[in-house]
């Protein structure tokens, strides 16, 4: 056992590709991913035609751009020139303030036209939300100034992510993806490599139990999984300031549990793939797609059609992601999360059983 573990560690340390995958990839990806993927809209280029051009209309515009969501790029004399720049993509949102803006406002009604470029559905939606809430805020402020009762009064409280930062929500998902990919792919690759080089034949002449051999080869990847977990969670909490409310110990425990099905999946892949290339493809197909699209990492599983929801709920990474987010942001523990933990455990057992059955064929004499 010890000899096999030591040998595996030496293989990893000797192989620049493994080292890159283990150390550089999570860090580099985390930076790129988290700076590029965010749902918080910033600096949407704004163009304005202001037919009123009064202090009130300028107040309204200042109010809109104050939070950095919109950036006032230019004023236009008429709609046609504004539209030209929208069609060129210079302006994503065009506002037209009518001539009777002040008049209507004093009657308690805010009136303007907003033209969105509207190509990117999701960001447009979010920008529209900002535009409405900005307008509502302005209107409420005006009503207060005039001593009127507010026409609408909603006071949301966000319990766990008070600033509604999308990074808080995305960053843990990123950890899950890296972990899943590294643990599954590297385990599969290391075993397929032994097989590809004809080492199985030698293995059958050595006085070691083949299952113990496989287990000893997989064990270093548990440690590597944990190392990557600490790297990504460390970055997520230090750089992106995502809290770990439930404590790192509890999170580590859940992560160990998640590594069980992830490594077992690697073993199943290694029993199917005949070459390292095949193992890579299988590992990517079975880890990356489900963990990005079906885990709820970006797209909410709740809004998927029923058949896809069923598939999504069947992905172990989905349950790990729920656990990660809940432990980090909400600070809950096993008492609340045991059903998800149970799913991970059952998955591990099932995958390990499949791997064991499939491996019997190449581990025992032919």
């Amino acid at each position: 056992m010890r000899a096999v573990i030591l040998k595996e560690i030496r293989h990893i340390l000797r192989d620049p590709i493994s080292l890159t995958v283990i150390l550089v990839m999570p860090i580099a990806y985390l930076f790129i991913f988290l700076y590029s993927i965010t749902f918080d809209i910033k600096r949407v280029p704004l163009g304005v035609v202001d037919y009123q051009n009064s202090s009130l209309s300028r107040d309204f515009l200042n109010n809109l751009t104050a939070h950095g969501c919109f950036e006032l790029k230019a004023y236009y004399p008429d709609e046609a020139s504004l539209m030209r720049d929208v069609s060129l993509g210079k302006i994503k949102l065009g506002l037209v303030i009518p001539q009777d803006f002040d008049e209507r406002l004093s009657a308690g009604s805010l009136s303007y036209a907003g033209w969105f470029e509207g190509v990117e559905g999701n960001s447009t939606n979010i920008a529209r939300g900002y535009l409405f809430s900005g307008a509502a805020g302005f209107l409420l402020g005006q009503a207060e100034k005039m001593g009127l009762a507010p026409p609408l009064d909603v006071r949301p409280r966000y319990l766990y992510n008070p600033m509604l930062r999308s990074r808080w929500f995305l960053a843990p998902g990123f950890s899950a993806i890296i972990l899943m990919l590294v643990a599954t792919a590297l385990t599969a690759l290391s075993l397929v490599r032994e097989r590809e080089e004809g080492k199985v034949e030698v293995l059958r002449t050595l006085p070691v139990n083949p299952y113990a051999f496989v287990a000893a080869k997989a064990l270093p990847y548990v440690v590597i999984g944990l190392v990557d977990f600490f790297i990504t969670i460390g970055m997520v909490s230090l750089i992106y300031r995502v809290p770990v409310k439930g404590g790192i110990l509890s999170l580590t425990g859940f992560t160990l549990l998640f590594l069980f099905p992830a490594l077992s999946l690697g073993l199943v892949i290694s029993s199917i793939a005949r070459a390292q290339r095949e193992a890579w493809f299988l590992a990517l197909a079975t880890t990356l797609l489900p963990s990005i699209i079906l885990s709820g990492f970006i797209f909410p599983v709740e809004s998927m059609p029923m058949w896809l929801r069923i598939i999504a709920e069947a992905m172990p990474v989905r349950h790990y992601l729920i656990i990660l987010r809940s432990v980090m942001i909400k600070g809950v523990g096993l008492a609340e999360l045991w059903p998800h933990a149970l799913v991970l455990g059952l998955y591990g057992i099932a995958l390990l059983a499949i791997a064991g059955r499939r491996m019997r064929a190449w581990l025992s004499p032919g």
Partner: protein, 294 residues
Amino acid sequence: MHALVAENLTKRFGGFTAVEGVSFRVSDGEIYALLGPNGAGKSTTIRMLTGVLKPTSGKALVAGFDVAKEPYRARERMGYMSQMFSLYRDLSVEENLMFFCGVYGSGREAVARAVERMGLAPYLKTVVRDLPLGFKQRLALAAATTHDPKVLFLDEPTSGVDPEARSEFWDLVYSLREKGTAVLITTHYMEEAHLADRIGMISSGRLVAEGRPDELLAQGLGKRFWQMRAEPLNKALALLNEKGIPAYSSGGLVFLEATDPEEPRSVLAAGGIEITEIAERKPSLEDVFVGLTK
């Protein structure tokens, strides 16, 4: 008790019989060579003996333990140097030895012992990928013997190495024999088989002859062997074999067995081929082998 016993080993792959009814015994401190051309069944036989392949019927005993029934006891007492390199190419000489010592439980001192015995000291930290072929072979031998096995299996161990490295390799094998290790080696080099204590000749999956090299050569006594030049070579061989004259070619020459040189001359003349040169020669193992299998 024999160190290695092969009892009626048979292996079929579907309808194809690779090895049929092969039996032999190897004593402690004896080197036994399985000799035969590629595809004769040598590798299949050695793989059944080591437990890599399950025989269709028959059994193999290593140091008295049935390889199929008590695999771990048998494996602890055998060393296997496979045709496909058993070494890890990305690890150093020392790291490879440490792995095999660990797996066989032969302890850390065994690494130093193996390095000393096989003369690997200058390459201790070298990664196997960068090792000269001759030293790779030595390392593979070292890796297979850290636990002082009772039986050592060598599957075509010297294919591809130069004659000097081959003779150095054999010196190492002889030193293991001194210590009482039984060695089973497969080879298709006739001159290499001469170096063994006993030879089993294998052809089309069957053991066709067995004995000491001199005993096997004696089977050629009383027969006359010739070497000759005749063009085209392949047609000449085909004609001779058709008439039941044992013949093979090597290095542009035709070797054959005939009581009278006029015999092949007339056979070839009928096919329009002229013998340009012919001389009598002493029988070699190959001559005996060809005579037995034709």
